[in-house]
Amino acid sequence: MPKTTALSFTLIITGAPYVSQAPQTALEFARAVIAAGHRIDRVFLYGDAVHLASTLACAPSDEPQWTQIWSEFLETHRVPAIVCIASALRRGVLDEKEQKRYQRPAHNLEPPFEIAGLGEWVEGTVSSDRTLYFHPTD
């Protein structure tokens, strides 16, 4: 079997968990990327997908806990995961720094997700070999 060249990927998710299939589809794709010997440069959550990074999401016990499942995948494979700051603040997903800045009573960003700007997305689209979007369907 011919050896394939390893590629780097940036994945952008725009659909929220429990509303769209986007986070699950992206996770299965990410697992396939790693299994095939390629690399994921970063995952970027935009729009409603920022809810994937909320540590407060509580799905019923017989449903997948997508935030924890994604978090474990990211930590296992050391994939940086960025949450768009503008999308996150509007939707109430805050890290400790933003909690203090906006004087809110709590923060809820699940590690290893980090909050940053769209510059991270631009960097990904420029530097990765492939950029893929996972949108909600409607």
Partner: protein, 115 residues
Amino acid sequence: MTALVVIDRAPYGDWRGREAVDMGFSLAAFDQPVSFLFTGPGVNWLRMGQDATELSQKNLARQLGAAAIFGVEALLVDHKALAAYQLSVDTLSSPAQPVTVSPGLYGQYDHILCL
């Protein structure tokens, strides 16, 4: 890398268009060549005389007016969609270039973004 941001949804009904514009402006701010294409109901982003006051939203035509400041290369508008919404290229809120939407048009860009 050349990028095309496609706006194919009407303004004010949801936030996808606004968030797509933010992405396009970010590309331009980081010196990446980017153009916008308005097609389908998205051509209404360019409608003159928008007043979103009663919707408690920002005027999106005004937001789009900042495209040149950010360095967006071109605003393209689907001429068929313009006709369908009884708009004329001469009466748009921002100068836009009428185009025929085709695979050839999309093929001119490395990166296509449509939220």
